[in-house]
Symmetry: C2
Subunit: 202 residues, 2 copies
DNA sequence: CAAATGTATTGAACAGTGTTCAATAAAACA
DNA sequence: TGTTTTATTGAACACTGTTCAATACATTTG
């Protein structure tokens, strides 16, 4: 039965086509400003057809959300070659910030968009947990190497994520203009360096 | 000429009435989900009249944005009685986080809503700078007391804000569920405590 | 081949959004 | 009184996410 197989493939291709259109429009205009009609227009289909392939706008969100985390993880895994866990931790933060700078819209989607983010066992939520686990393992490795003694690894992980995320969040929501005479790049990189200075004393 | 005076007062009252309605609906449904018709309905007026008293939805946003910072600053100034600058700095962070917990919607408005935030000399943007200055002065006082030697105060200020904001941002956008078996309150307070541990070594 | 079935796509419709504006009501001034 | 300002309305416009009857197409069946 090669036909139903091809049918399935074609359906998958259509899903991908919609997703490609959605990604493109979304990377141009931001998630909130992207309408179903924009997406449909981008791929020269009617808006209605999207609802044959996706439940709603939320499902497209979930898919792109997952993509973003997949991209981030890929970027982080490059650092697996760095052997020393603390060096890898510090580099991960820098890579994280760089990711936010270069993929502002993905970052918004992943961490800053208002959306239920249905925790449906699987779904994009799972890959987010994977990214957290990456950081958590790194923290544990640092502790095994003698760093961060007497600190709870869970809260430490959350704190490191928060500090790094905070830098990116202020940037992504344009709340950095209170710090004048400094470019965003300077602010983010030196701000993070400042955090690293503290980490090194821990 | 008492009439034009009264007229002005009445106009101001109407502005306030709209703002009150906007605040109420917004605190219930969140900023994005609040429509001009919702606001108008709340105060039993037609939607059109809002545009006689405000330029657009953005101006209402600005006004509530300003309110939020005013509320935050009032809460921070309670800590002026704490003499030791480092103790005050630590307490400020706790107060900041508490503010986010108790005023999630204001917090979203102030730091997480997508909105141009026109930097029009005056406007709510000015009071945001005031809040940053509060933190910056605190950092400088800590340095004069011998803390954070050889660290750039600008970047340090930005970093401390980022770390604290990061905690609140993850909470306000419901991105804390990757850390299971911990309540939001636990996570935020112990996460911050973890940051303070680092600060104490700086 | 033709008819019937199932699948994919359309375009109109619905209720909602922010915003504008002619008409109108109300108040202040002459 | 009539005239001019000021405040308010409600309809309209172009948009939004979403649903759904109608339709075109592809495949299977008679």
């Amino acid at each position: 039965m090669g036909i139903t197989e091809r049918k399935q493939r074609e359906k998958q291709e259509m899903r991908q086509r919609i997703l490609n259109g959605a990604r493109k429009v979304f990377l141009q205009n931001g998630y909130e400003q992207t309408s179903m009609r924009n997406i449909a227009n981008e791929i020269s289909y009617s808006a209605g057809v999207i609802y044959f392939h996706f439940k709603d706008k939320g499902e497209i969100f979930q898919e792109l959300h997952k993509e973003g985390f997949s991209l981030l993880l890929r970027q982080l895994r490059v650092l697996d070659s760095v052997i020393d866990p603390f060096e890898r931790l510090k580099a991960s933060g820098r890579a994280f910030i760089q990711f936010a700078q270069e993929n502002k819209d993905y970052y918004n989607l992943m961490f800053l968009v208002e959306e239920p983010l249905k925790n449906t066992e699987e779904s994009g939520f799972q890959i987010a947990k994977e990214a957290i686990k990456y950081l958590h393992d790194l923290v544990l490795a640092c502790q095994q190497a003698g760093r961060f003694k007497d600190m709870d690894p869970e809260y430490l992980t959350f704190m490191i994520l928060s500090a790094t995320h905070g830098i990116c969040a202020l940037f992504c929501k344009d709340r950095t203009m209170s710090f004048e005479h400094k470019t965003n790049k300077e602010l983010m990189e030196n701000g993070y360096a400042s955090f690293v200075t503290l980490l090194e004393k821990g």
